[in-house]
Symmetry: D2
Subunit: 378 residues, 4 copies
């Protein structure tokens, strides 16, 4: 296998959540190495952040233009191969366009651009560039979403008649019901946030999920938004009737005011021979429904899954992928201790836990062998 791919990062500095997500993802399969970046519009902050996460500072650039210019001067085998664009939405288009024109591969956060026109221009640019361009519709990376797609492709549902996708969140409640806040936040300012809030931010994921899993294209739609207040210009809730065909229909439901919903992405696909249901908050369970057979629950890592699904699973069945994070938390605690930083009791298991464990194991064997008697631990 070749060496790690040289990755540049645009945006995602400081506390940026999307920054964490991309960095972790880039490391997980040992495929990428961050070699350059413009983490922040402020050059000093960018450098500071690079030190924090131990990225060499010599290729932290003062702005995007400089990054492109300087990297092109480097010999090809040292140059950044691919850039991840994590900047505010309106910068996606100009950055992606310039990167493609200069032969870089691109991994771009969604929405890819702020308008459909820009999107089509980008598509033309890519045609000419012939490089790789990935949009991070993250949810298509779940093993069970991939399994759903592959089984549908192989005909598990027969002809599809109906789809129902939901993306419900409640987070904008803390803003929208306050007149002051809703008039000042950039998220609800069309100038800054683009044409749509709810549908542009999350509805589009539900849309993508439908087309990804079913292989069908949505041909037409009818939409009703809710702005909740007369003085608010951005949709915070919407329902979309969709048609794939005269007799193949469905609905996309999206909301940012669905109180108490966290990241409620869910999809149901109904076909002649069966149906699938999947929910993002319990991503390891894929439900296959039938009119005549018991419900089946597919889980990751089993030999019964498709190649595409298994390729996305790194651990045996029953280990939720979140176990990486559980282990990472223990490494984090140990790191603090090693550095002599303050850490709380409970951040990582100490040797005492190991000692107790052995005491336990030997006691169970003694109890059983002596005829199921009580044994005291030390």
């Amino acid at each position: 296998m070749p060496k790690k791919i040289k990755l540049g990062i645009l945006g995602g500095g400081g506390d940026s959540l999307i920054g964490v997500l991309h960095r972790v993802a880039a490391h997980i399969n040992d495929n990428y190495e961050i070699v350059g970046a413009v983490f922040n519009a402020d050059f000093e902050e960018s450098l500071e952040f690079a030190k924090e996460i131990d990225v060499p500072t010599n290729r932290i650039y003062k702005d995007f233009e400089t990054l492109v210019e300087e990297e092109l001067k480097l010999p090809k085998d040292e140059r950044i191969q691919v850039c991840s664009i994590l900047t505010p939405n309106f910068l996606h288009f100009p950055m992606a366009k310039k990167l493609l024109q200069n032969g870089f591969h691109v991994i771009c956060e969604k929405p890819m651009t702020t308008t459909y026109d820009e999107a089509k221009i980008l598509q033309d640019t890519l045609m000419k560039a012939g490089t790789v361009f990935a949009v991070t519709h993250t949810y298509t990376g779940y093993p069970m979403v991939r399994q759903m797609r592959e089984m549908i492709k192989e005909g598990a549902l027969g002809k599809i008649y109906k789809v129902d996708a939901q993306y419900y969140q409640g987070w904008i409640n803390t803003i929208i019901h306050d007149k002051e806040k809703r008039s000042s936040v950039w998220r609800l300012d069309p100038e800054k946030a683009g044409i749509s809030s709810c549908m542009g931010d999350i509805g589009v994921h539900a849309f993508n999920m439908i087309e990804f899993t079913t292989g069908l294209q949505i041909k037409s739609l009818l939409c009703d938004f809710n702005y909740l207040y007369k003085d608010n210009q951005m949709d915070v809730d919407g329902t979309v009737l969709i048609r794939m065909d005269e007799h193949v229909k469905g609905v996309i439901r999206a909301s940012q005011v669905a109180t108490g919903e966290e990241n409620g992405l869910a999809i149901a696909i109904y076909g002649e021979k069966g149906a699938f249901r999947w929910e993002q908050e319990k991503p390891n369970f894929l439900y296959k429904l039938s009119d005549t057979e018991p419900l089946q629950v597919y889980k990751p890592g089993h030999a019964y899954n498709s190649e595409l699904s298994l390729d996305g699973t790194k651990l045996p069945p029953g280990h939720p992928e979140g176990i990486f994070d559980a282990m990472a938390n223990i490494y984090l605690g140990a790191a603090r201790a090693i550095r002599g930083e303050r850490y709380n009791d409970g951040e990582f298991p100490t040797m005492l836990d190991g000692v107790r464990g052995l005491n336990f194991i030997e006691s169970t064997v003694a109890s059983h062998k002596q005829g199921n008697v009580w044994i005291d631990l030390d």
Copy 2:
């Protein structure tokens, strides 16, 4: 924040799952850098693997003794600070002991040693060494396990009267029911695998979980094993009655023949004022029971959680931590495309997905603004 900690790896090469888990975990919070290793007993394989995952080969050593010797020659700020021990169980003790005696920090897979006597010796060694020693009881790293511990510590359950912990798996079924296999596999050979199979491998996690979350110590136990076949010498199933106190009791149930169970670790803790229940396969849901109030479900990332729990959450509520892996799968697909390797349709969203998304978003706005009419997508 200081620079990354210099990490050495012992074992975990090739397809080792535990190797993947530790490397990913080490990267996730940008705290560690792998600088040296003995990935494999075979030096050539070790070197090969280092190239594969892009670890510099100059500090890949031919064996553990050489690693210690050579690293000690390096100046302190270049030297490996901490070693992760991922080797077969019987090597944990000698390696950990030597590392501690030479001033290294240690992160050690469980079981820490193969006997309680070794464990106590190691404890003495650590006393003198004064370094950091972590045992990877991974499950204590889950945000909701930490939340449980903290709430119990603050008195949420009042006095605890009963605990019930389970760790059920079914994987040994494929071996145990076959006379040939069960007599030849090292896992069921006491010489190679140690004193206990089921209790040593998984029961001990349940034990640790009880002591970690309740803060109580198990004082005595009574155990009954099942070997399933006369010719089998290792426990593959066992139930342990436990006592923390004359009137505080519980049970640990562990099995490797619980057919169809994958990684069924679960714990229930009952106290005077309430109870907690948690299951490893749905790690983001912590259930708080009460005799008089509605059941409450705690989830990660919320402000209502404790500091220890929040410290272990990297994303907002509703994003299962497995989302890192979903994103990582997309990065993996992109990496293959960038390298010009073979990849399957669906491994990452392409620009076409981005174009479709924008087409969708603009159509929803048009439909709504024109009075909820049908709009065709391109």
Copy 3:
């Protein structure tokens, strides 16, 4: 408390499921006694069925008109007080009208009539009659649906902004995809089944559930049906955009082709201060969501529930109401044995089970008292 109410039954003979449901419900609280009926259009079958279920045959009438005529001749304290109308839909209106005009109370299956015009006429008739008229929107009888309504009324959600109700079934799949069947079945013949299949049969329950629980009225709607085939004239699937107010919106989703869905009625109500979710297939769990607090799960029978909810619960918490049926199955098995009919092993626990139980209990006490030793059962 007064004596049982005298109940007449129209329809519901033979294997009619709706007949079983109404009879069982009438008996459950010891409030009704069936004294007369026209179970079936065929008088002989009606008589036969009356004998089967042990209703006196002297007040089984040959048709509806005779029932009304003859009952009116009886003294008031012997006369049928209330009639349950379980006949085909088109008979609901004429029967209900005549019953009301003659001073009878009415319990009527839904849809109450086949047209809105009939419904308004019936409303006028009821005004004049001044009797009791109940429509069996069964789902409003669930304790947790009632709890949801009462808590909303008391302001638990604050102002409501969004509702989402679903009623998904898949049963019509066995008919709709077969050209022969779909052209011949009365369910899909507008002449016999009325104006709407999916929305008339199940969508209307979702509609009723919204108005019942929220106390809001739906003011306008926009609907899209799916007929699935050009030669089919009845909706088998539909999505309805609804508005309670300019800024209070929602959606009703109903389907009879949602493959594998059984009786998937579900409702979600989102308000300023919280939200509720409830699913008919797990009717004992009412979920209360919040943006800032842990999710709460309300269950029937607890003191924290409202009077209206508690009034509908007959057993302590944790006993699903279906336990009546479990017990009824045991009574059924015993009945067969008592009558000397054929019955299967397992239909009811025999004395042997009782004997074993006592053997078990005494052995547990002996084992504990003798210091946790093994005791053999007989």
Copy 4:
């Protein structure tokens, strides 16, 4: 089918929950008619209660002995055929014995007797009597418990190796932690409540469930109780190690101090080819686990179920049996209205609901037919 069976009731008067459960169950399949009773030790209260629930008072007897004596004087076809014994536990034995000796069938609440010796005597009595005797281990009546039994009998799990049954409740917490209460309540007085509290009341159900579903007999056991306080003489918690065979083992876990648990009966059965899991609080879901296939979820009423299971289902799939109670609640509300009693808004759907429903249905059709436009409701 013959006429209803003549049923006598002993105990179960007034607010007795067990009385409600038995009466409802007796009515559900139209098989029984209550013709005589001693509802209460106090004759006046017995008569009063009979009037309340409309049982003829002429066969309400002043005590059990009189009931037997007088009924025997009646001609055989008028006489009580079967008696349900719902009295305090210590009366089960003498009543059952006398009834059997006089040729009556018996349906007896559990525990059947208070000692194993009594149980064996009763068994002898039954042998001679040759009548029917049912013990109400209610949980064996659930359709999915029956399905589990039948599938195991047919070999779905292969050889069984392990069982795990739990019955956790928390209700005794309100008594046990209060010194005053725990010393005065009859439930914790061995003189009145018998030899065991927790194991005798609920553990025995778990025991019965294991033997019922697996067809195996438990051969020996080892038990540990928890009394929680030195001054308490009755077990309120216990764990029982069980052996069906040298290599077939399991555990029964029972508790009345499992805080927040309501009626937590659950069972897991692991065999060579698969496993079953079932929980009483979600009785309609039977989980079939496999090491190699997707998890399957069986639900009642489907053609794939066994005869014994289908025999216990009265409604189509997706209707939880609790729907009888939802409907019963509506009948209850209507009964109150008919009698002119006070009732709350929401107790039953009125004609207004029916009118609204028709308005809704016609509007959906109009909206769709006019091209998906908005239609106002009245």
